[in-house]
Subunit: 692 residues, 2 copies
Amino acid sequence: MDSDKAMVIFQPSGRRGEVPKGINLIEASRLLGVDIEALCGEKKVCGKCTVRIEEGHFEKYGVTSSMKNVSAWQEEEEKFISPERREKGFRLGCVAQVKGDLLVFVPEESRAGKQVVSKAARDIHIQHDPAVRLYYVEVDPPTFEEPLGDFERICRALERDYGLSSLTIDIFTLRTLPDALRNGNWKVTVSVWNEKEVIRVRPGRAEHAYGLAIDVGTTTVAAYFCDLTTMEVIDTVSMMNPQCKYGEDVMARITFHMTSEDGLKRMSDDIIEGLNELIDKAIANTYPPTKKKKKKKGAEGSGDTVDVPEVVEVPEEGKTYLRLTREDIEDITIGFNTAMHHILLGLNPEYVGMAPFPPVIHHSLDIKARDLCVNINPSAYMFVLPIEAGFVGADNVGVLIAEEPYKHEENQLIIDIGTNGELVLGNRHKLISSSCATGPALEGAQLSYGMRAAPGAIERIEIDRETKEVNYKVIGRDAWRKFSEPKDMKAKGICGSGILDVLAELYSSGVITKSGVFNKKELEDCKRFRINPDNRQPEFVLAWAEESSIDKDIVISQKDVRQIQLAKGALYAGCKLMVKRMGLEKVDQVKIAGAFGTHVDRTKALIMGLFPDCEIEMIQGVGNAAGDGCRAALLNRKKRVEANWCSRNVEYIELTVEPTFQKDFMEAMQLPHMTDDFPHLRGIVPDEVLDQ
Amino acid sequence: MDSDKAMVIFQPSGRRGEVPKGINLIEASRLLGVDIEALCGEKKVCGKCTVRIEEGHFEKYGVTSSMKNVSAWQEEEEKFISPERREKGFRLGCVAQVKGDLLVFVPEESRAGKQVVSKAARDIHIQHDPAVRLYYVEVDPPTFEEPLGDFERICRALERDYGLSSLTIDIFTLRTLPDALRNGNWKVTVSVWNEKEVIRVRPGRAEHAYGLAIDVGTTTVAAYFCDLTTMEVIDTVSMMNPQCKYGEDVMARITFHMTSEDGLKRMSDDIIEGLNELIDKAIANTYPPTKKKKKKKGAEGSGDTVDVPEVVEVPEEGKTYLRLTREDIEDITIGFNTAMHHILLGLNPEYVGMAPFPPVIHHSLDIKARDLCVNINPSAYMFVLPIEAGFVGADNVGVLIAEEPYKHEENQLIIDIGTNGELVLGNRHKLISSSCATGPALEGAQLSYGMRAAPGAIERIEIDRETKEVNYKVIGRDAWRKFSEPKDMKAKGICGSGILDVLAELYSSGVITKSGVFNKKELEDCKRFRINPDNRQPEFVLAWAEESSIDKDIVISQKDVRQIQLAKGALYAGCKLMVKRMGLEKVDQVKIAGAFGTHVDRTKALIMGLFPDCEIEMIQGVGNAAGDGCRAALLNRKKRVEANWCSRNVEYIELTVEPTFQKDFMEAMQLPHMTDDFPHLRGIVPDEVLDQ
């Protein structure tokens, strides 16, 4: 064995392999395709990557594992690992480095979920002004001289201490009021919504209220679980949209509604059930795994305790748990595209799918969560972000209030690529929006071997210009194909972030021509190129069956290439028309939102002509900006006003009725189309490629 | 046979007798103890008293009946009786006068209900300004140039045509909007609540919306079913409060809540279920009895019809039916005492029953009916009238906004005698209120033979001063005992309106003394006076077993007399303290609300010293003023503001803590107590009685 390397075996998966000595256990796990939770990005602050080093000789693997084979204990680990657990061999995966052979056990709670969620919260600046605020008041008990009602009594205190007036109270909260006041010995904490309505009264002093910012995508639903007082993102939870079974894109779901008797109700019920699961998941994470127990129902205000403890420390895990219940969630903001908006709210989505695509409502809605059967505090509201147009939804409004192009002088082009493409262009003077049917191809769907961003998905690729040999990297494995044994790749398909790489490389290497057709002349002797005997389609092999975990060659077909071309053509043509509409020469900045934007290679996006020419440095992925916008609206109610302003002041352009759209679209399908000037590509892409 | 009289037989009951010629058939029915519906009070405007004159000789009764034996047809009857039905002998009972022998058939729908509901709507002046108003708008359909959302489209039209702005829309209504607009060909009628929120959208033009003003008493629940557009009272429906099974008075129900685990929920569920039955009853009355059929569920906006016909004429009955559904009820106002308020809303009533009796809330509430599971239009609100104090509830606020003492210079004393007595005294400058525990005795409850105002209840009584013989009249029979066969009386008990008569007559005839004790000296030889062998109580027989339908002597016991004395003592002492508090010599006007006030004999009320001295002419029964106030709030939203003003500006006096209350109370139990001056009784009651 190479003395610079060591054998590492991860349990319970049994994955093993030689890794360079000196790397930490997280890095080792990546090389070997093991998923360890690393929420903080190896900053040693989240403690999620706790693993256990097993001691002893393991005959089965032929290794002797010992604490001596990892680097020394560090101070940072003390915060997360108790002395007892340290004794048992627990270490932080991001701290402990490989010094020799190891058998490492990954406890359940340290294993990362199978799906790679890329909707983590970005650090955006939000001013603290939540719709739900807490007010602590002390009131005098009633007397014969002044037998004032309980509600009027707290109103008087709220006006005296905080200047709040003309408050109303939700009937569900009113029911808890008399006992909360008496259990708290006339000292209570009142949650007030928008300085208007009392939505919760807790005995004693409470410091925290919680909320969820939910982004309902066509495919994925993600939520930021936030502390409304500290603005901290406590957790990020996500799930597949349960409506996927009714169709992959919005048109399929609208069609399902139109062709089945109770389609709308079924889809609406499913997503509501999904939201409730997501909420349960968020809450469950606030309980110690070993002691998952809900607070006694109705304990609030009906027991003897004056204040319910909100936090519990579990020393043996080195963790602090909030122990929240559904009642503790007092606000929700939610964004989605127009069709998802309509379906979730039970609004007929039929007309959104028919020209001229009018939505049922643009304006934001404040709906009692209970009216949608969403199980949070029974008096709490959900703020439904406003929508711009039939195909530019509340999610785009979320992007806008997160990115605030209307506050800048420079022209920004913001592209949100989900299952549909939503575009906004403009600056402080004017904003226009449109949508383009990119389809889900850019997300990897509808391709022969398209897949979600999960382990085994090809996310990076390089094709040799001479040999046409393919080198690639899959999610869950850091080593590229070139440096791996074929059988270690375990490739399964191509995910969204790999799509552009694939197309750009196919083009740059001459495998396909400008028009997207396989270049038969160049591929004469290439064994990767072939005609599929089943469907008679030309195709190109990216990974051979022996490199895959599915025992099949992973290929990209002529049809796949067309799909991607259609998507990027639609996107480009849309961008171009918008730039023309605004009378601009060029855009100052391009922001790409969505998971696609997080992973996209900016140069390759320019090569592919996804959007008009722009300085590479001014192209920026902004992640889940839609979710960030929901979060901004959760933590700052002025953002809600701003959202409504956006939804009515962004001019919507219906691209398909523009006279030049079809021509632009066809031209834009070329790779890259030279009908436009891409000066910023010169020097990055060889001239002979650009000018071919 | 006396030529001034005629024999009249009513079918199907078969009741018959000689009546003076010239009286109308309603009057004849009263004399003979037949109940014919006469909602409008013989004003010839309701058409409810339609009866049929049978033609021919009827051997069984020995009469020949003919259309010639009634007075001539009158124009007013045409509105209710079609030519076909006129041909068949139909007439209005309040129009047709007896000219000769008659056999009269009373159709099922003209027979009055068994219970005598005295909560009929009074003719009070209400300005038309309902919280729910209808607006008809025509909007342009969306185009590519202007694909504005459905909601924003109707908002624009409502602002353009009616100046309404900043409207919101209920989520349940929003769900019906797109189809209502399209089914109505972009012409719709919009129901707007308080110029704030859209709560219904109907295709086409609709002229009517409906509402209920509900008065929830401890014993009886009554509702006025009103047309919000025309202000017409379409129907009055009532029922027993289903909570009666948990206890007769409010304290009993509060105790039930405190002593049983789910007492509050059970009582709340029961009254809500009761309200839903009442609503169903009101709606059912708008359907032809022969064709009771609900509108197809969801027909609104989902069928081909642009406008659902709201009215159906049934020529064979000469009636017009509205054919309403629950969705057609778009507003409810509701009043009750504080305990009933708390229990219905699910608010802990415990503290209302404990000194210092603070309510959970004073202020009015706008609650979505659906949040209380009240089945009307799913977007509609219920307006819960505000309450004054723990023992002066929303019902009293209803009385206030109906009677408006705060708009007059004269001092009014308003007494609302239900199961509890609520008192208000004052004028435009100041108003004070209080409550006194009259108990239910004045309503006939808790007495040995107390009963509700139903057929067989003794409602008037006279006792001969010399012989102590008793003459009385029962509900359902116009002939007094003196003019009847014993077996025809069918007496059952004594109802509220008979109580005062009984006590006043017992006193005036010397059967009882000033202090309420049976006057043994006077009763030495009276066989009506005796000691009950079972309970050893002295008692006085009002009706012998042979005159009763229950085969028992109907008596009033010493304990009964005490109960009534306690009630009237509490009432008087309360009134007196209030008059003193206001620094008044006397009150200018006494208004008696509630069923009790409708039937009470003003003179006897004064004799009994129910309230301080007042000119007889200035004593007035104001019927169900609480219900009238609810109706005012239903039809005029400014009354809602006024109600809140009342609830906070009437000063509540807790009588039981006033130092002189006990003494006043004891004194006031005397009949009448001469500690006060009753100049207005002089001349009405013999001096020797007053001064005995």
